[in-house]
């Protein structure tokens, strides 16, 4: 089975990031492979190691995002495609999925995998949008994948429990990071990645976003809290009294 995993380069949320004048100010160097996409790659690698086939990756991003493709190749992906957009391009999930769909049309992958959401947008939309554009059956929020002949068996996390769904291929799946722990590339993989093919395609027309960010804002701080001192019994008595006062118990 051949997989194509759609991957995104995202800011590292553990790096210092500030809002200034409605814009996010961050260190352009502190970027990572979206954690959910890393899990999608890991699962695709495990399945192809077991059942045969290859894993390709597809990324939309500015020039510098190529390093994220190299990371995926170092993990074990076979080849990468980089749809290059200008640094300042404003892409919402609709625009991203439109570009991905345009590229993937007719490519013949058995499974297209995406992250369940991008760590920066937290939108969780591009996956199912892409499936709909390509007319593929899909499942979201996968926490486990298995291959049975031409069928992808997806265990997904739902509201009240997990559902096991069989999807005929070709299909699309969006992946949770609860699925696995992505491998850390070894030196050998990093060296091998340098020789793997990466096709770059300049995107001459970026689709207009239907959702635009007007500005970023800091999150309003919660009221400062207080530490309840004392022995456990005293702490308990004090907190329970406060909770009764607030009529929440």
């Amino acid at each position: 089975m051949n997989f194509c995993v759609c991957i995104k380069q995202v800011p590292d949320v553990s790096a210092p990031i500030q809002v200034r004048g409605g814009e996010l100010v961050m260190d352009a160097g502190r970027v990572v492979l979206n954690a959910y996409d890393a899990s999608a790659i890991e699962e695709a690698l495990v399945l192809t190691e077991e059942h045969g086939g290859e894993v390709d990756v597809l990324l939309i991003g500015p020039e510098r995002a190529t390093e994220t493709i190299r990371k995926a190749l170092a993990m074990g992906a076979a080849r990468g495609t980089h749809l290059v957009v200008p640094e300042e391009a404003e892409l919402d999930s609709a625009a991203v999925s439109a570009l991905l769909a345009r590229h993937l049309e007719g490519k013949g992958y058995d499974v297209i995998a995406t992250g369940k959401q991008a760590q920066d947008t937290d939108a969780g939309l591009a996956g199912s949008m892409l499936a709909e554009r390509l007319g593929l059956p899909y499942a979201t929020n996968a926490v486990g994948l298995a291959v049975e002949d031409d069928v992808l068996v997806v265990t997904r996390q739902g509201d009240g429990g997990q559902e096991v769904i069989a999807l005929p291929t070709p299909c699309l799946v969006t992946c949770s990071n609860d699925m696995n722990d992505p491998r850390i590339p070894k030196l050998k993989g990093v060296m091998a990645a340098k020789k793997k093919p990466v096709e770059t395609v300049a995107v001459d027309e970026v689709p207009a976003a239907s959702v635009r960010v007007l500005r970023y804002e800091p999150v309003p701080q919660r009221e400062p809290g207080e530490t309840i001192e004392g022995e456990p019994a005293e702490q308990a008595a004090e907190v329970v009294r406060r909770l009764h006062e607030a009529s929440v118990l």
Partner: protein, 328 residues
Amino acid sequence: MPTILSFVALSNGQLTRASLEVLTRCRALAAEQGADLAAVVLAPNAGAAGAAAEAAQRYGAQTVYTVADPAFEHALNAPVLQALEAVIEKAQPSLVAFPSTEGVKDVLGALAVRTGGAVVADVAEFEMKDGGVEALRPVMAAKFLARTRAEAAAGTPVLVSVRSGSYVAEESPVAGTVEAVALESRRPQQTLREVVAGVAGGVDLADARVVVAAGRGVKDDAARRLVEELAEVTGAAIGASRAVVETGMFPATAQIGQTGKVVSPEVYFAVGVSGAIQHVAGMSNSRIIVAVNNNADAPIFDVATYGLVGDLYEVLPALIAEIKNSSA
């Protein structure tokens, strides 16, 4: 007259609190915009659909579209998409609002493509302005808010999903109409093999008034029993951090945070949770946060209303005893 359509979700035969919050918000927007308020409910049978429609009318839905079909017994996305597409086609809404559940996340993007509309997911606030929808949504594990503007092509809706706890549900009954919409049968592409249910009969996490959440500090059965007992005496739903779900002590369905669920109870007990931003992303909207942690420097104390520095094996028994006493 323009229409605003509110999707209401059922859980154990009842409309969820988050659905009613969204419906209440849509009622205010409809009044402000001079629009009709409609609701849509998908239910496994006509009885459940009827009961849900009545409940939606109590919250002001003038028209309730019901789609009753056994397909909705289970959470496969194809029939849900098909039904929502049909209802949107009928109602011609300018705005469709949803509670942000896993079930909704499963279809939202695809539905936007299918209807040709625009979509904004997981908002904390939204309003209709100058022919578009402006919303405030947490981004980057809720580290920042993005103020966004969505504009849909003429004749297509803006779809919005709303985080639970963003609005307060209030009744305002109307005598409205109920319109049943049939689901055309189609050959299913996906098939459901199995449902691995979460905690049966437990309190629904997203709707819970009290949540007791366990973190990796909850290391053994004795600690887990304390968490369960605290949940019992407070009538709470049990939540969990990702780290403790990984140990297998709590089901993944209980996970709260960026990957897991977003909850907004009146009281959130964080027990042995360090307070990583990815966890806080799912609970910072709780009204009161009580944190129990033996490390005074744990970041959870930065968001806690009441911080109890101490060993959970000592603090939890004291809390449980005190709550039992005080309500006896």
